[in-house]
Amino acid sequence: MTIKLGVPSKGRLMEKTFDWFAGRGVTLKRTGSEREYAGAVEGADGIELVLLSAGEIPRELASGRIHLGVTGSDLVRDKLADWQGQVAELAPMGFGHADLIIAVPACWADVETLEDLDAVAHAFRETHGHRLRIATKYHRLVREFLTREGVADWQLVDSQGATEGTVKNLTAEAIADITSSGETLRANHLKILSDGMIHQSQATLFAARAADWTEGRDCLAALTAQLGLPEPELR
């Protein structure tokens, strides 16, 4: 019996994940040709490496098809309902940092905080006959945040890419998106609300509660010991 570890299949996220495990004595590597998504694990027994798109790892964890997975904490929180019931957070990994923020046009001199946004949303709805539109792909996180903060008179519009351009294109009045340096925001004449930090994301190692752990317990115990982590409570 082996347990399956899902990691991002390409790019910096994959390299950093490999580095993180290597720094703890576990070698992950791709095998076969450059284009083949196959991998191997050395330094820990009973672990099978599965290379996946980072965006699919939350779903695979939720279904239990992989036992462990590395992906952004923002993706898990946004894609999984009741995420703590579905996965256990084993370790924040210290890379892949990105902030999910709310940004508004920089020309809105009267808006710096959520309180301002709420007041403007109300006036906007009265003037324009529809709610103030916020473009995002992080629907759950943004909706939960604004509801918790008591902001009213907004609606979400789906934007899967080039979200910073939606305000200029008149398809949204504000955006909620991830940013690391804020440069794209500035280039698109947007500014971040001072209290609009929704989530500070980083790459995180998760364990799937729905996975079959009956025979994988020992492997998990050995792996977490090797990585210097406490053994997780999975039920």
């Binding site: 046009p105 020309c107 809105w108 001199a109 403007v120 109300h122 006036a123 909706r143 008591g150 008149l170």
Partner: protein, 357 residues
């Protein structure tokens, strides 16, 4: 757990009682246009309802409740006064697991549209529900959003502040923050001071649908706000006391008067008349809880009397709930309005309790 057949049988029994009380049965479609619901409830409803698409009618929702289609039907063609009842499935998306969080369940409801005497209509709905649920020995709680609205309206401050507070009665956290700000208990953020001092121009090009005139209008409101006197600390304390008031219903009028908020007088008189109308229908108002904040965190359309019947087991959802929603009829009425009150019972939970009793 009661089977679906048992739940439906219980629902039919409740529906029969509503019909005997003089209501006409309505059977709204399960698929409702999403636009109306989204406009009324905002994104909240998208998180709670199943959205689907129709090739010709666009975005549709599996009905999350009956209130909106019933009100729409009444506003479109209804005679007055009118009493409606219904029984059928509602659908709610659930983001958290738990036995109490069914995503599909029956609701049996009763709604009264009558402008002659609202407090009597309130008492009619409540006492009908109390009678139908009496054998389950539930805990009943009532509240009155009208009292909270009167309290906000009575604050001696500028109109925009009162409007902002009234808008957030249903969002306690934002309400509290605004109140703190208006009372001067929280410093004005530096950006706002700079803005009012005329130092905020940042040279950014104007983008987006919101126009510069809209910003100037808001800055004018902020200027007016900055010049207004702070709401006195004793008023903030009165609101804290009001929001935390919970007592047996028959004591509520005296307890509310003791808050020394003269703006509440009319609303307290109305509460007293409602309690008298309930007592006249054999409701023991000492066996009933009044909570001033009741209904503040539920759906925004209740704007007067609110009530809930709940079981001793906190894991169970409310067995029945309802209230007055005059403003909703105005929003959906296209210029018309009519006082409206109603509520729903969950036959499935009633059947569970009856099976366990």
């Amino acid at each position: 757990m009661a089977t679906k057949a048992q739940a439906r049988e219980t629902g039919e029994r409740l529906l029969g009682a509503f019909l005997r009380a003089g209501a006409v049965e309505v059977t709204p479609d399960m698929l409702q246009p999403a636009g109306t619901l989204l406009d009324l409830y905002g994104e909240d409803i998208r998180a709670r309802a199943y959205v689907t698409s129709d090739p010709l009618r666009g975005e549709m929702m599996l009905r999350p409740d009956f209130t909106v289609p019933v009100v729409e039907a009444q506003m479109a063609e209804g005679a007055e006064p009118a009493r409606y009842c219904y029984m059928g499935e509602v659908f709610r998306r659930q983001d958290h697991r738990g036995a109490a969080r069914a995503s599909e369940y029956l609701q049996a409801g009763y709604e009264v549209f009558d402008r002659t005497d609202p407090v009597t209509a309130d008492a009619e709905v409540f006492s009908l529900f109390a009678r139908l649920l009496a054998h389950l020995r539930l805990k009943a709680t009532i509240g009155d959003i009208g009292i909270l609205r009167a309290a906000v309206d009575g604050i001696d401050t500028i109109a925009p502040r009162k409007a902002a507070l009234a808008r957030h009665i249903w969002r306690p956290r934002r309400f509290h923050r605004l109140m703190t700000r208006y009372a001067g208990l929280e410093p004005v953020p530096p950006h706002r001071a700079a803005l009012l001092a005329g130092e905020a121009a940042n040279g950014a090009p104007w983008i987006g649908l919101r126009g510069p005139a809209e910003m100037r209008a808001r800055i004018e409101v902020l200027r007016q706000d900055a010049e207004a006197a702070p709401i006195p600390a004793e008023v903030v304390a009165q609101f804290d006391a009001l929001f935390s008031l919970a007592c047996p219903a028959h004591e509520a009028p005296a307890r509310l008067r003791a808050l020394s908020m003269p703006a509440l007088n009319m609303a307290i008189d109305r509460l007293e008349r409602r309690l008298a109308a309930m007592a006249a229908r054999s409701i023991d108002t000492s066996d009933l809880m009044f909570e001033a904040s009741h209904g503040r965190t539920s759906m925004e359309y209740y704007d007067g009397f609110v009530f809930t019947f709940s079981a001793a087991d906190p894991a169970l959802p409310p067995i029945a709930s309802g209230g007055r929603y005059d403003a909703l009829t105005r929003q959906l009425g296209g210029g018309r309005e009519i006082p409206a009150v109603g509520g729903v019972i969950r036959p499935g939970v009633v059947a569970d309790l009856e099976a366990g009793a």
